[in-house]
Subunit: 632 residues, 2 copies
Amino acid sequence: MNGQKTTAAERAGPVVRVTVQPLGRRVEVGNGTAALAAIRVAGPELITVCGGRGLCGTCKVIAPGHGFTPPTEQERELLTPAELSAGIRLACQATVVADAWVDVPPESLTAPQRLQFEGRGASVAALDPAVVAVDVQVRPPGLDDLRSDATRLEDAVALAGRPATRTGLAVLSAAPVTLRAQHWAARAAVHSYRTGECEIIALLPEGMAPLGAAIDVGTTKLAAYLVNLETGETVATGAVVNPQVTAGEDVMSRIAYADANLSGAGDLHARLLDGINGLLGDLRAQIGAPAWQVVDAVAVGNTAMHHLLVGLPLRQLGRAPYVPAVTEALELRGADIGLELAPGALLYLPPNIAGFVGADHTAVLLAAGAAESARNVLFLDIGTNTEISVACGGQLWACSCASGPAFEGAHIRDGMRAAQGAIERVNYLDGTFGVHTIGGGAPTGICGSGILDAVAAALEAGIVSKRGRLARAHPLVIRSADEPACVLVPAALTAHGRDIVLTRADVGEIQLAKAAIRAGIELMLTTAGIEADALDEVVVAGAFGTYLDVTSAVAVGMLPKLPKERYRQVGNAAGLGARQLLASRQRREMADDIARRIRYVELTTHPEFADTFARELTLGEIVRDPANGNAR
Amino acid sequence: MNGQKTTAAERAGPVVRVTVQPLGRRVEVGNGTAALAAIRVAGPELITVCGGRGLCGTCKVIAPGHGFTPPTEQERELLTPAELSAGIRLACQATVVADAWVDVPPESLTAPQRLQFEGRGASVAALDPAVVAVDVQVRPPGLDDLRSDATRLEDAVALAGRPATRTGLAVLSAAPVTLRAQHWAARAAVHSYRTGECEIIALLPEGMAPLGAAIDVGTTKLAAYLVNLETGETVATGAVVNPQVTAGEDVMSRIAYADANLSGAGDLHARLLDGINGLLGDLRAQIGAPAWQVVDAVAVGNTAMHHLLVGLPLRQLGRAPYVPAVTEALELRGADIGLELAPGALLYLPPNIAGFVGADHTAVLLAAGAAESARNVLFLDIGTNTEISVACGGQLWACSCASGPAFEGAHIRDGMRAAQGAIERVNYLDGTFGVHTIGGGAPTGICGSGILDAVAAALEAGIVSKRGRLARAHPLVIRSADEPACVLVPAALTAHGRDIVLTRADVGEIQLAKAAIRAGIELMLTTAGIEADALDEVVVAGAFGTYLDVTSAVAVGMLPKLPKERYRQVGNAAGLGARQLLASRQRREMADDIARRIRYVELTTHPEFADTFARELTLGEIVRDPANGNAR
């Protein structure tokens, strides 16, 4: 074969190496192994509703190299030409024939695994953090130089090019001992305030990297990231349940709790701080970092979580006209609210937008590029409360709508959270439902994305009507607990031996959620003066926004019918935004800019909201009159 | 008597009214009563070494009106023409013959009474406080105005002419509830930072005056003043013993305590805070003010007290080259160090000058006008440690010298603090010592000013030589506990029935103190390039500086021989400076200016100090060579 090119398959031995991203893990598998199996060896669990038969199209991966067999017939059918040309493959169809590289996108991962793959590694923004560490050699005092320790430290820091306007109390208190113990060598952490002032906030030992903490305070979940402020790298991540959940699942019940109990707000504040401090402690333990190494922090959350974290009252958030205590960005000493950081470190909270559009939405908009884009973009952060923004012609509007807890599995007969045993994907194939369960075992219930899939699949199969009624004549429709229900998984195949069903009432919950979100979208578009077609992009953020299947969401009419490429599921964009705010002062300015420019639209009193909502209770895409948005 | 002028005595009835300042108290006494007796009726106790016989000249009062008999022969002898023309009288000689007005200067008051007469009432500086209260009517939120509570409060404050750059955490937290409870009317306390930023730090109820606390943190005594920041009036004052005294009487023993005990510094910090918080609580109780009404604070103290208050380490202050942790002015949240003020209120500490010239000396210089004066002025703050500054040709120098505890009554055989039963004034008249005791009863010991008087009197009487030896031939010199001693009060006249004596060793202590202080003065004058004669004024501050008799201090040679009018005893100038700093932002700038301009001179390593000190051990004024300051 001299002088002749060999194919990859010919060059490969019986064993080939596959590098699986974003883990960066390399595994050895037999030549001819399916990519799906190779990835499983490396760890991550992919969604495969059809069980790897090339029927459902859920196990998409990015595999642009020559290490795989060419696309199969099924892939050509299930993937768009754009996807195919971008190297997207179905992991169950692509077979490894040579050393290869494959990247698993978050949407193909089973829900609980997504967070842990998210945002590890590389820098999230051009590095320009609020805190920088400066190595200095301080001039020791002597009879000819009787200046104070603070003055000599400030002078050394200024000589290193970071003139500080003052030295923080914690450093004043530490410097005399630390400087002498370290023979006048020091690593000064200098914080640049938004006002332009600079303060020496901490002293670190030689060579120790300054860390920042990005905290995403969700109503249900607390996620946190530790970032090396010198490299921008995320060095530890983790999440825990928000310990406030025992005081109510959603924001309104937390507000009611704070209001009804004398020490309610204080109790919620304390629980939240306990949760965050515990989580940060775990993250630090992962990398062996002490609390005083964490010299900067950013926290994002909805307005209620923001207020509870800072220790502000909630009552006015629970009553019309629902105004926040504060909207502008805050920069607080962590110690002032009980957050365990380096003693002098500050906590930055980006601006809130309104009572129900919080700093987390500001972070989502930031991470999704709302500040920079001149395009028409719709931003959705779907949860119990859904925030919707639209950018159009350099302008920004935001609104909030109550989409209910159905997508968290609440108020659904067999609903559950996205945990082990939850059905997260549903397909209707050949007269029967196919499901994918988190963990791969027998199902115990159905989580938000599964419910949305199930309604979409049942709608397409004609089992559910546009008005949400179940077709009683269909063989899968039964009466269950005196209510019409569609069997998704028969008792024989479930973990608990009972049918897993979708009831009429379940469909009703999805109709309410769909109507609220879509009405919000339509009124945002009306406000911006554009139609859905004019959107260049639809950014879907948040936990549920990551898990949901856009095709299903479009099928039920929750999202507008647009080419699929215009949709971008960005995962925990609030967390990404928080890390960007940690890494970059410019991003903090952009967050201010977003909050300053954005106009909040109150839907509850909007003259067209009631009608639009009522119209949108219909499932599926409804035909709208382009003149006034009315169905026709 | 028609058409004829009547004399005051003729017009007066058998009873006349005397108004006694600074108490503002009016008493009725019989026509012909001595001013001394009238003043006693009003309360204050005057010093009368001779027992009111017109011999000692200590009971000086200001009585310029026509309600008194003209000056007596004795007054013409004991008072200078300048004093006489300024209306100064001896209270034992001036007899009331009509309604009259008399002002008792602090130096004529017995020691323990001085503090309580000091600084009551009128404003201490042109009012320009860091905190101002602004009455605002905030616009309530509505569907057409969804701005945050903080934004609407800031807008209202800006409309009232005090644009605030931010709202403090305590106010963010209080505003939603307070504004609604007060129907959107509020009194916002706005703090102007040294950086120019303004922050809303507190909300007060309508009509409530913002108060400030001025705190003088002495090594021995804590003094505090509450000031109405709208009128500048001092509304409550008080003092307590510094609770740290059980850990050592002087600064060096406190430093040693902090160093020797693991939690020593923390313990001293906690005791100090307890003492200050307790004292402020007492002051508030005097006027029924809650802690949250105190919206600004200033503290002054020597560098060690400053560091212990702020919570900074002391160790480096106790070792050569004795550098402070920080010299520049600090503005700290009171809550950060445990000081009980309004939650958002700040504590301002003026700049330290050096390790042994603290922020209290800055306050003394400020109160004594060092920042403004173009004259040649010497400033002395006499204590265990004596700070000496000189202003000359717009330049400022400072030094510190260890003058020892003799003036606090320590290391003196019969020494005691300036308390009930202490001899505070001593005269030598007709071969015997006359004494004045605090409280007027039989003496139990002798305090600092009395010891200085005794040495001066004994020196003049030839009982003590210039080298400090006692004249054994003198009838009052005995041997006591195997040491030569001069009897000041024989056993029969003392409270405890033992002689009160001045020993050779006591004189030695005064020689040491005198030598240290005078050497400091001489080296300061040498540094400034002037001689004592060129001084326009000598300002003597501090507790002992208030009590001491300048004539005695000049007699022993501790202070230079200058016309008595050039001496000014300013009382607790540090406390006055603290109140000025509370009342005026301009004063804070002046304090910065003083600290920036002043040059610290280290005496311990000064090439001429040892010689000068040795020479100054001689009692009395020594003749100096104007060329090199050497005695000749």
